[in-house]
């Protein structure tokens, strides 16, 4: 069978599986819809969280990015995993004990304030919405690459599938579909990685393989890359070019942003007990780590493969995949010196080759001449990653509208049935809006991803921590903290990304901190303002202090003991 047939078969089978799971596990109450009836086992929730978290960017783009960034790519590896430690130790158990449906629920109740709730709702919607448009775009791209349909058609197919199981199934449907999607995506990621590891380093374990040596020459792969990079005028692979302070702040912003992302946090509302929430984060990170420790290995294999195949070689001798990806515009070659050879060097003036990082994962099976079914599998895996994340994000948007705004702020008397209908309608509207945004303006989507993390880091994380770890944090402090954190972070990113993109260079950044890393400063500002303001404003009422005591332990210490 050819690649296209395999892709149709594998993508079709995986979609049938998701829809089947969604029908079997559809939501019957608002509790089912928002938190899957709090009946999800910690292990299943761990898998669902891993699929929820790992997006099209993790699956398709990350390994390629690291491949070009070398050491600098570590910001993504540490940043997108280290946040789970914060989540397990500082957030998840307390939020589970509190027992709400959404993040704004916690903020609104703990800070006894509708204003705080509304600020949190706006942040949750904004963060999730920017993120979900990127996922819909990712679905469209995978469809267009592998099935040769238009990106728009791809987005519409993706919308239809997510629409079906998110609107029907709510959190319960999403959870069990995500478990299935995790299995598909991790299998699809590991198969080519294992093939590559065997070919390039002689061991089937990618995590060990990229520290290994080329079976023929006996030279360590990483040494070979460092050497080639030096020759061609790139920074050494294991060194990178970003300044230490920027690496530090970006890593911190991604970690704290991860821990503050509402669609990740709410997954830990779905387990039965506080102890399940703690261990479930561990399972989630274990499942995530399988992919995240493989990605840097793929990065090294792909980089070595690419340099071996193209650098300094005659254009006419390029294999078939090179021309195929040239047609898609993801590889471009301009023969400046007209010598027919591909000059690939660090010097931008002389360099003749541009490679889009996404290719590294998408084209790897072809570059390495793996069987056709592996190519189809990668397509199914990319779709699983994008769809699972999109569904989780859409649920946050719909719950923010139907639960936080309608039920908790404007129409407290709404019936259970009415709220469930409202939740489904808002999920449906969110799917359509996200799809349209994904179709219309892809550049915008790429620019605002830094936003999602920066805003999550500078808004939710500090107020949830302060709400649990201090009894004295009050309404005024929390609102002032959130507003100053978001305003500062948003202003910095908007200035460098939209108002004055020409100035977006290390010399102009404050203390050398890039817009990606500024969320860390926003978070510190949020903490500082909140603590400062709370000292000069009235302390929270007594029942809030009792609430804090209650969420600090799974039971009532001292009362039952």
């Amino acid at each position: 069978m050819d690649v296209r047939t395999w892709t149709f078969v594998l993508v079709g089978l995986s979609f049938a599986l998701y829809i089947g799971v969604a029908i079997w596990s559809r939501a019957r109450s608002t509790k089912d819809f928002y938190v899957a009836g709090t009946g999800v086992s910690p292990l299943a929730n761990g898998m669902a969280t891993a699929a929820d978290w790992m997006s099209a960017a993790s699956f398709i783009s990350m390994a390629g990015l690291i491949s070009f960034l070398g050491y600098d790519g570590s910001v993504y590896l540490m940043g997108w995993t280290g946040g789970y430690v914060l989540l397990a130790l500082l957030l998840a158990p307390y939020l589970r004990k509190f027992g709400a449906y959404t993040v704004p629920d916690f903020v609104g109740d703990r800070y006894y304030s509708q204003v705080a709730r509304i600020v949190a709702v706006v942040c949750a919607i904004f963060v999730s919405f920017t993120y979900v448009s990127g996922q819909m775009r990712g679905v469209g791209i995978v469809f267009s690459r592998f099935l040769e349909v238009d990106v728009t058609v791809g987005v519409v197919i993706g919308m239809a599938v997510v629409f079906f199981y998110a609107v029907l199934g709510g959190m319960k449907g999403i959870t069990y579909t995500q478990v299935a999607q995790y299995c598909v995506l991790i299998f699809a990621y590991m198969v080519p990685a294992i093939f590559l590891a065997v070919m390039l380093s002689g061991t089937p374990i990618p995590q060990l393989g990229f520290g290994g040596a080329d079976p023929e020459s006996g030279v360590f792969l990483l040494d070979k890359l460092d050497g080639l990079h030096r020759e061609l005028g790139f920074a050494a692979y294991t060194d990178g070019t970003k300044s230490m302070i920027d690496v530090f702040f970006i890593t911190a912003a991604l970690m704290v942003g991860t821990a503050g992302l509402p669609h990740v946090i709410i997954r830990f509302y779905t387990v039965p007990k506080v102890r399940d929430a703690r261990v479930s984060v561990g399972w989630a990170l274990l499942f995530i780590a399988i992919l995240y420790t493989t990605a840097p290995a793929i990065a090294v294999f792909a980089r070595a493969n690419l340099l071996d195949t193209v650098a300094g070689q005659p254009y006419d001798a390029m294999p078939e995949w090179f021309n195929k990806w040239e047609d898609t515009g993801l590889i471009t070659f301009e023969d400046h010196d007209q010598d027919g050879n591909i000059l690939y060097v660090g010097d931008a003036e002389r360099n003749e080759l541009t490679v889009n990082p996404d290719i590294m994962v998408l084209a790897n099976p072809e570059i390495s001449r793996l069987p056709n079914w592996v190519v189809g599998l990668v397509a199914a895996g990319g779709l699983a990653a994008a769809l699972s994340t999109a569904a989780g994000l859409l649920l946050v948007v719909s719950a923010a509208i139907s639960h936080d705004l309608l039920k908790r702020a404007f129409r407290p008397d709404i019936s259970e049935r009415g709220e469930l209908v409202a939740a489904r309608i808002s999920a449906a509207l969110a799917v359509v809006a996200a799809g349209l945004l994904g179709i219309s303006d892809p550049g915008f989507v790429a620019q605002v991803v830094a936003f999602a993390f920066g805003l999550a880091a500078s808004s939710f994380f500090p107020v949830i921590i302060l709400g649990t770890f201090t009894r004295s944090m009050n309404r005024e402090g929390a609102i002032a903290g959130m507003l100053s954190g978001i305003t500062f972070t948003a202003a910095y990113i908007i200035y460098f990304r939209f108002v004055n993109p020409g100035a977006d260079t290390p010399e102009n950044w404050w203390f050398g901190i890039s817009p990606e890393g500024i969320g860390t400063v926003g978070m510190l500002l949020n903490f500082a303002v909140a603590l400062g303001v709370s000292r000069f404003t009235p302390a929270p009422p007594a029942h809030i202090r009792d609430l804090v005591d209650r969420i600090r332990s799974p039971g009532d210490v001292g009362k039952t003991g």
Partner: protein, 85 residues
Amino acid sequence: MPDPDAYWARNLRYLSILLSVWFVVSYGFGILFADALNAIRIPGTGFKLGFWFAQQGSIYVFVVLIFVYARLMNRLDAEFGVLEE
């Protein structure tokens, strides 16, 4: 009679120890001291130590930290009579 403040103090102690480890393996070994550690190689491999912590080691330690915390807290819950059935 178990004391809620004692429970919380123990929790905070676990947190400060585990978060110190979290900070040291990632921001310490992976970033601040990465250059110094890169002078050392993991024997028999091509990994420079700082680079390895940044792209592999820190992630393994993160996973272990979470399971250790979950275990410590289950024991603490049992000790204070708040373990959920």
